[in-house]
Symmetry: C2
Subunit: 503 residues, 2 copies
């Protein structure tokens, strides 16, 4: 039995935890246990389910000092950031409690029997039901918000699905302590045993995707890891949905008007956004499209100055830092691309990196490496001559999670840029930075491949619940055997579409 090791990336100090890597057979058994209680959980009243999520939020907050200390030791992400992330994570659980109580996520629809041009139609009623046990993969870069107690777990529980969570090896002690808090909340809420499980280790992750009782997977991480696990989910005898929120090289366009009006302000903002959390955000603006004109020159100079003011930074792990350094070397090797800001580093320490390339070079097929995400504090300035040059370069970029556009009141580029942006990304940001991802009804965090494995899904916001549901139609089923959400008297008081009209 391999003991799980917790490592401090800043100091290199390691300690063995009192848990072992989970054997694949045990992963299968935990998933089976979840499947056995899934229907019981799914049938509990919505109000009860909402209260359960709030209990879990309370337990996380009660243990906040301990959880933040553990995460600080394991991630080096900083006290203020981690405290904020934990608040956000508790808020997210409570937000999903609201989503559950709202009930619209059920998509309840009732068509009473009637005649039609195709002859008589029977009574048809449709709603969404939980898929069953969900496998959740915690991320490295958000030890709370996209890990054990994060959005995938919260939305799956909200949908009525038990979860089996694979802890990320970058923060196992934080993962275990968060899990313990969720379990305390589950017990206080009176949840059936088996609602939550936590597994550790690479092999356990593989076993989780393969486990016959797992109905769907939520994943946040890199394109290669995500694509490998997604392929595995598809290769099962019964393939299951795999919702991977993968990497993203996020474009940020500054129009000539905006560069002229407030280039310096934008440059300072970009420097802060691209280095936030040591650039370890999937929404980091990595592709900066700046006009090749005097105002653009001023903006780039200001960006260079802002980045040079920053000291070296500690990444999440040596592996992440190694990937960053090798990514930097690959990018530096692209012909026609040159470095504006750089520096060495070692171990987990790195320094911000900035490159510059003409738009025409960026758009060339040989510059593929520039268009792929480099996870960390790195961005590429792409200098464009005019609208055609810009639009050619943008067209060559991959789809992304976010697409930011800085415009001025005077210029007429805003309209086509916003229209173009929505073809390339899940979120279009006007005159702002993409790195904050608010938990709300209207948030979309996802995008076309390779930003995510499913462009129709989101891993943040109310619609995250959609991933764990599937519709069922009940035809001519007597009222007393129907789920409550589909009864004529609507005892749950949820939104119902009745004979085509929403009530």
């Amino acid at each position: 039995m391999t003991r799980v090791v917790s490592r401090n990336p800043a100091t290199g100090v390691e300690r063995e935890l009192d848990v072992t890597e989970t054997r694949p057979g045990d992963v299968v058994e935990l998933a089976d246990r979840a499947a056995r209680m899934a229907l019981d959980y799914a049938k509990r009243p919505l109000q009860w389910r909402a209260a359960l999520l709030r209990e879990m939020a309370d337990e996380l907050e009660s243990d906040a000092a301990n959880l933040v200390a553990l995460a600080l030791d394991e991630t080096a992400l900083g006290q203020a950031r981690l405290e904020g992330e934990l608040r956000r994570t508790a808020f997210q659980l409570r937000f999903f409690a609201d989503v559950v109580e709202d009930g619209a996520f059920l998509h309840a629809s009732i068509d009473h029997a009637k005649d039609s041009p195709m002859g008589p139609l029977p009574d048809l009623r449709r709603m969404r039901v939980p898929l069953g046990p969900v496998g959740v993969f915690g991320s490295s870069n958000f030890p709370f918000a996209f890990s054990v107690p994060g959005g995938d777990t919260a939305s799956a529980l909200a949908a009525g699905c038990p979860v089996v969570i694979k802890a990320h090896p970058a923060h196992p002690a934080t993962s275990q302590a968060c899990f313990d808090a969720l379990v305390r909340g589950a017990r206080k809420g009176g949840a059936p045993e088996g609602l939550l499980a936590l597994v550790f280790g690479f092999d356990a992750g593989i076993a989780l995707v393969d486990a016959p009782s797992i109905s769907a997977v939520g994943f946040t991480g890199s394109v290669p890891a995500g694509r490998a696990l997604w392929s595995r989910a598809n290769a099962r005898p019964n393939p299951i949905p795999f919702f991977g929120e993968l990497g993203s090289a996020n474009p940020l366009v500054v129009t000539p008007g905006a560069a002229k009006d407030r280039g310096d302000e934008i440059a300072r903002g970009v420097a802060a956004s691209m280095t936030l959390g040591v650039g370890q955000f999937c929404t980091k603006p990595g592709l900066l499209f700046i006009p090749q004109d005097p105002s653009g020159d001023v903006l780039v100079t200001s960006l260079v100055d802002s980045l040079r003011e920053l000291s070296s930074m500690t990444m999440l792990s040596e592996g992440v830092a190694e990937n960053f350094r090798s990514g930097t070397v690959t990018i530096a090797g692209v012909d026609g691309n040159h470095r504006l800001v750089g520096g060495d580093g070692d171990g987990t320490n790195v320094t911000p990196q900035l490159f510059e390339v003409p738009a025409a070079v960026f758009a060339d097929a040989s510059s593929r490496a520039l268009r792929e995400e480099c996870f960390g504090p790195l961005a590429i300035v792409i200098r464009y001559l005019n609208r055609d040059d810009l639009s050619n370069a943008l067209a060559s970029a991959d789809a992304a999670l976010t697409f930011s556009v800085f415009t001025s009141a005077a210029d007429d580029d805003a309209s086509w840029l916003i229209e173009f942006a929505q073809t390339k990304a899940g979120r279009v940001v006007a005159n702002g930075f993409p790195t904050g991802v608010g938990v709300s009804w209207s948030m979309q965090h996802g995008g076309p491949w390779p930003a995510a494995t499913s462009a129709s899904a989101t891993s943040v916001g109310a619609s995250g619940i959609d991933r764990w549901l599937r519709p069922v139609t009940y035809q001519s089923v007597p009222e007393d055997l129907l789920p409550e959400a589909l009864r004529d008297d609507n005892p749950l008081d949820v939104a119902q579409r009745v004979d085509g009209v929403v009530h």
Copy 2:
């Protein structure tokens, strides 16, 4: 250039059509053409899009006599059935026009800027946008409703996506004539060129899934063909969603009470349902769970008598008939299974087939062949001793499109059966037959694998439109640059969720 051949399955007469199989390069070009006009089409007003769908419905109906004659020649499905199917197909286009006008499919949501426990949140607005060009694969068994002018085409056009349709080789002349009618409707509606394209041939189908400009695929057909194309869609450099409505062995359970009350009536209904359209319905009840008691014996005897009264039937093609005969041989070879009704056939002619097996044998791993769909007029009677015997056998069955339950007022099996059924199927039918699939707001036609590649999707009903959309969030985008559906003054008068409350 290979000429496309139309074949009459009843007479074997063949004729060359005035069209050739589409070269893969031409498929790519048609998809590229669709991509070039996609944004223009997506931006047209909803009212205009709805009117376009109604023009297409009108054109289909104007040409009804010709279309039905062509389909009768190519499918042998019968005049009345084909007339009804064409009416249904025109109705479906008009129904999707209503869905477009309703506008709720956009999922418009507006969160105004506000403070939150995580600090200030920007203005966030989310709606769904069309994916882009959709590839549609026509089915063999519904030359109208699930082919060129069918549900995939109608829902994709409704979503705002152009379509490139692959005609099924079983009815190419019908496909071409239906396509011509759609094009006439598109012209009358003033649609941009390139909205619709039709391709022929096996290689063209492969090229369609691979074409870089195709954003998603809709498919109706067998599990092997669907799985192969789905894998191909996943193997692209940028994988695309593939919505396959595949095969299904649909369970139908008769409780002891129902068998006693009205066994004869149920038996006649089953005989009609399992042979409707020569059993070439994906919703055909193929697994009949009947109690092993005297009432069950009477039911089975009545079913046997009903089937023996039927004469031989013409299947859609020799290939389909050959598959049916080889499937019958495989099923007959399962130990413990015996034939109740059978007979020979040749060419496209077949006779109904009925088998009987004890529930315990059906549940055994060695009986796998009994649990797979056999496309055609064949069913397997599974005799069960008691509830445990039944529930073991049901648990061994694959997920399905439909699950039918016949109960009596007296028995207490209805509750657990309905609850179990919704874990196994996309549609649960009480005291009725699954073969009719009404086009309505509340229809679900899909189910967990292997019934469909995506359990959350439906290929019939209003929610079919969901497949061709993805959400986009607009952050801090000025009012005049927002899509109309997301403006505060709601000029389209669509359902909007505003600050969490639906209006």
